[in-house]
Point group: C2
Chain length 310, copies 2
């Protein structure tokens, strides 16, 4: 068995970038150089029945919507806007016959987001087979300003923020209907120097470890600052609720790293724009990720969250 | 039930192109405008165990190779060279544990072609699930000369060619090891005005119907000119062998339409370059696709070949 993280590291070594690819395996998306001034960003995610949604329980429209939305979240995390979508599907034989509107409903979920965010379904592939439903989405995007924001640029002394409360997304179905954080990303690149950004898909703990590994730095999170979503059950202990915020995953909020001087405007001006950023910690030297409790004691933050074992 | 062709037509109406997309649903790939002079072409294909290969019978390396190769064939058909690959996989749980080298072998098959054609694996997604093995590949490419060649540009009076003999690809496993027709495509755009081109993945009959529908024209094929591959069983009747060449699919040769004046150089000069183009017919007015037998009688050519029923 190999962890997904280790597998991705091995692939990145095996397939080094070469022009026109400037950023390859390991970030939320890849960056391709089109011309001196132009960059295209490409993201891709595959969603599977029984893993990322349960078609027995939900409308297929929501599966189509989620497949696009998780990719939009990757683009938002790189401060990019979508330009085109490519959707490949594997449909169980007999599914369309049994559910007359299966394909129509699937593409209605996709269309909701192509309309809302003003981009185009430009291609794809359709198949039938004896397996369960699978959908792969590949999106192209263009940077909101000059260059895409990577996960590797966090600097010692930076303040860490998230764009919303975390945890409980799978429990109450938020993962099926969330809105990608484009508004926050646009405000951030317009008002701050965003050194690093990524979306929280596999849990804050896992994804913070990834950002810090990519940035060759460590971090200290302040436990009492981590915003816990109302979707996390109130009947749990405080410790359990914090664990949910750290490890549940599928939040699709942004995790970002800005210089301390910019942290001030994130705290104050953002509110005037109707946005809320939650300061959760600091980037430090070394490679340890630690959690500071209310008494000021530091504890190692283990990697928890969602990771495929391959 | 909806045929794949009808489904694709409906999708194209539902999702009209918008900038930066110049060509969307319905061609071998999409064309995105990067800058005044630059175009990026994007193709995608999903391959499924039990449909496009049988993992019980073949080395997974060949599945990885084929997943890249069929996408390369789409790029060659648009007269483009590959720049980056994005590979998403759904691996059956326990597969890696049972077959230690499953992932290594899969990516060896991919690497064979990234090395041979000098491009980069730039991203992807890895998952495990309870379904069979699925792989989606998305490739970016750049035109060999100025603009990509589309399937919609065939003109009345054009000569139709294919780049190699057809039929029997699935029978003897040629579909797992074919080489995408980049060399032929490069020679063609250097030496002729290629009005339309596409790759033959679902059978000459089906794919010719698609090219002519996109070009708003008809065609007459000369039965005796259609090159039949040695992989087609010699024990079949002549009629059966012709049917194999027309309908088996997975040939991954190119079908192309050039002005009659260029047909001369395709017949003669290409040979000097070690290439062989097979003239098979003519583009005519109307929308009928007909087969001319050796007695000069015209027969309607039915749409046969491989098409998913959705």
């Amino acid at each position: 068995m190999t962890s997904e993280n280790e597998f991705v590291r091995r692939l990145a070594r095996r397939f080094p970038v070469r022009q026109p690819v400037e950023v390859g395996i390991g970030d939320d998306g890849a960056v391709l150089r089109c011309s001196t001034d132009e960059r295209t960003v490409i993201v891709t995610d595959m969603l599977l029945d029984g893993v990322h949604f349960e078609l027995r329980e939900i409308d297929v429209r929501l599966a189509g919507r989620k497949a696009i939305a998780v990719n939009l979240s990757d683009l938002a995390a790189m401060a990019c806007l979508p330009t085109a979508a490519f959707v490949s599907i594997a449909v169980p034989k007999g599914m369309s016959a049994a559910h007359d509107r299966f394909l129509d409903d699937l593409y209605s979920g996709i269309e909701e987001l192509t309309r809302e965010y003003d981009f185009c379904l430009a291609g794809g592939d359709t198949n039938t087979w004896h397996g369960p439903f699978a959908i792969n989405v590949c999106l192209t995007g263009r940077p909101m300003r000059n260059r895409p924001v990577l996960r590797s640029g966090a600097r010692v002394g930076d303040s860490l923020f998230v764009t919303g409360p975390l945890g409980g997304s799978l429990r109450l179905g938020r993962h099926l209907i969330f809105s990608p954080a484009f508004e926050a990303a646009q405000w951030l690149v317009d008002h701050a120097q965003v050194n690093a950004m990524m979306d929280i898909s596999d849990g804050l703990s896992m994804d913070l470890h990834r950002m810090m590994a990519a940035s060759h730095a460590g971090a200290i999170l302040n436990a009492h600052q981590i915003p816990i979503h109302d979707d996390v059950s109130a009947s749990l202990s405080d410790e359990q609720r914090l664990h949910c915020a750290l490890a549940d995953g599928e939040d699709f909020e942004l995790l970002l790293s800005v210089p301390a001087v910019d942290a001030v405007s994130l705290r104050s001006h953002a509110l005037q724009a109707g946005l809320m950023f939650y300061e959760i910690g600091t980037v430090v030297e070394g490679n340890a990720i630690r959690l500071c409790d209310e008494q000021g004691h530091l504890h190692p933050l283990t990697v928890s969250g969602w990771e495929h074992q391959l």
